[in-house]
Amino acid sequence: MTTVTTTPTSGEAEAVIIRRAQPWWQLLWRDKFACVAAVWLTVLAFCLIIGPELLGDTATQLNLRARNAVPGLENGPMWILGGDPLGRSLLARLIVGARNTISVALTAVFIAMTVGGTLGMVAGYVGKWVSHVIMRLADVVQSFPSLLLAVIVLYMLEPRVGNLIIVLATTRTPIYLRVTRAEVLEIRERVFVDASRALGSGRFHILRNHIAPIVAPTLLTIMTVDFASVMLSESGLSFLGIGIQPPAITWGLMVAQGRNYLAQAWWLAFFPGLMIMFATLSANILSSWLRLATDPVQRWRLETHKKEEDDK
């Protein structure tokens, strides 16, 4: 895949390894872990979009014979992962639950990242005073136990999905804010930012063209890690009765409900937990891959990784 060219230019001979730019899907195919992660996330996206329409009825259908049914095929294919205390299909509930779970967590994390990232850039690049105000606000939010904050806010407002997302997003925002600000403070001292300033660029130009592209992959990585903890916080709030309420289904809620039966029916909490773990893991793997693929200095790791094995 690599060719060595020696071409003299204006009295200058040079030997530079030229790598043909590969389309992203080829790079993805080369990294099998990332590939599996991408497939899994696609499946989840599929569940998210059409799950409730497809299996909404099955997920609420009671089957008293399958109460706390052991995983297996005795009660039909839908009960392959077992049944819940009311005999509803665990598999169907997991698929239907994907929409609530992922959309709540994803929206919350996305809002936290956008707000935190923007405020962090402002705090890092604009004047001292603005920065101080923003950072002290972040201190206030962080010094509050996040669960307590959520409880207070959700008791005062209604425990609706929208409010839940806002509360979850608020408690996560300071992390993005701090990371972004720290990175901005470091990047703004780099020489290429000075070079851009000397060319006459304004703050917005520098933030958009030089700082944001470097901060974004870091935020993306935090986001994937955060994804899991937001799903779990959501289940905690649901458990306290101020989050998403049954009969709505979320994975976190399923874990919470399943905990009571851990001794008799471990699968009730185990499979939703596994779903949360796999979703997070896939997002994490894919984000590391994305981080490499978007970094021109690191991209070769993906390109040559497989090739060396082929050569042997």
Binding site: P8, E12, A13, A15, V16, I17, R301, T304, H305, E308
Partner: protein, 332 residues
């Protein structure tokens, strides 16, 4: 050169294996240090000069580095194959090193006096107070003002030049036979650089210590060294007495370096640069590594690696056209 060599490095080869390629940092280097003399290893970044020094001092990180060949005979023993604990006994006592970055080489949480005293206590059996006394005397010797009081200071309380003096004090504490100085003045200002170079010269003269000075600066070589080894792409391409080599170079690379130096040209006169880029150590050219940038290159240079030729008494050059180059005036 009637003297017996102190350190004789033959055909040294060092590689670094990274994810995608093998970088041949040192590619068969030969050089010799004689007792009481100063040998300068001159080269640009990537020429393998620092890696050679690190390898001899057994400081090479393995992996990713690997010594793939060669010997380094010191006092009749090959130090590259010496067991590590035996080497530790010897390093410091017989051979010591000074680095470019003095601040990074000193431990920030101990006083400089403690760090020098420790050198004595590791190797010799002298008491704590005696070691401290000797540390103070050493700092005085390397020209640190109020040395007896400053033994209790920490590295960050010294200026760049003073730190380098402390490093030199530590290196010569046990009166080694050989001091390897890796770009000791590159980070310093010219006026301080002159002070440090003079100090190294003085100590060498005083105690008969040999010095291997690794540098990229032609001026420093002229100033300090007796002999010089010019490195390019991991090989010593030319060696010999400093004045002979720099007045009548026998390798096109040395010649081109001298011609490109701005000191010889006045305003308005264009410099004569070496064309092209430094070699890619993972994809070295065939034949002579310098041929893509060489004004003397012919067909044979592309096909065949040049032999080591002796062009005059004590002068070697690795070039097919060494004799022609040798008769070329430096400034046409």
């Amino acid at each position: 050169m009637a003297d017996k060599p102190l350190l004789e490095v033959r055909d040294l080869k060092v590689e670094f294996r990274t994810g995608r390629e093998i970088v041949k940092a040192v590619n068969g280097a030969n050089f010799t240090a004689y007792p009481g003399k100063t040998l300068a290893i001159l080269g640009e970044s990537g020429s393998g000069k620092s890696v050679s020094a690190q390898t001899i001092m057994r400081l090479l990180q393995i992996p990713p580095g690997a010594i793939t060949g060669g010997t380094a005979m010191f006092h009749g023993v090959d130090i590259l194959k010496m067991p590590m604990d035996e080497w530790r006994q010897m390093s410091g006592k017989k051979m010591a090193m000074v680095f470019q970055d003095a601040l990074a080489s000193l431990n920030p949480v101990f006083t400089v006096g403690w760090q020098i005293a420790e050198t004595f206590r590791i190797h010799g059996e002298c008491s704590r107070s005696e070691a401290f006394d000797r540390a103070g005397a050493l700092l005085e010797r390397v020209g640190i003002p109020a040395a007896r009081d400053r033994v209790k200071d920490f590295p960050h309380q010294f200026s760049g030049g003073m730190r380098q003096r402390v490093m030199i004090a530590m290196a010569v504490a046990l009166k080694p036979d050989l001091l390897i100085a890796d770009e000791p003045t590159t980070a310093l200002d010219v006026t301080v650089q002159a002070q440090i170079m003079d100090l190294i010269k003085d100590i060498s003269k005083e105690s008969g210590m040999s010095v291997i000075l690794i540098t990229h600066d032609l001026g420093v070589v002229v100033d300090v060294a007796d002999t010089v080894a010019v490195m390019y792409a991991g090989r010593v391409v030319e060696g010999g007495n400093v004045i002979d080599v720099l007045q009548q170079p026998a390798h096109p690379y040395t010649l081109a370096l001298l011609r490109s130096a701005p000191q010889a040209r006045e305003k308005g006169e264009r410099l004569q640069p070496i064309v092209g880029s430094p070699p890619d150590l993972a994809n070295l050219p065939t034949g002579c590594s310098f041929h893509p940038r060489c004004a003397f290159a012919t067909d044979i240079c592309r096909r065949q690696a040049p032999p080591i030729k002796s062009v005059a008494e004590g002068r070697i050059s690795e070039c097919h056209h060494a004799e022609t180059v040798h008769h070329e005036p430096v400034h046409a």
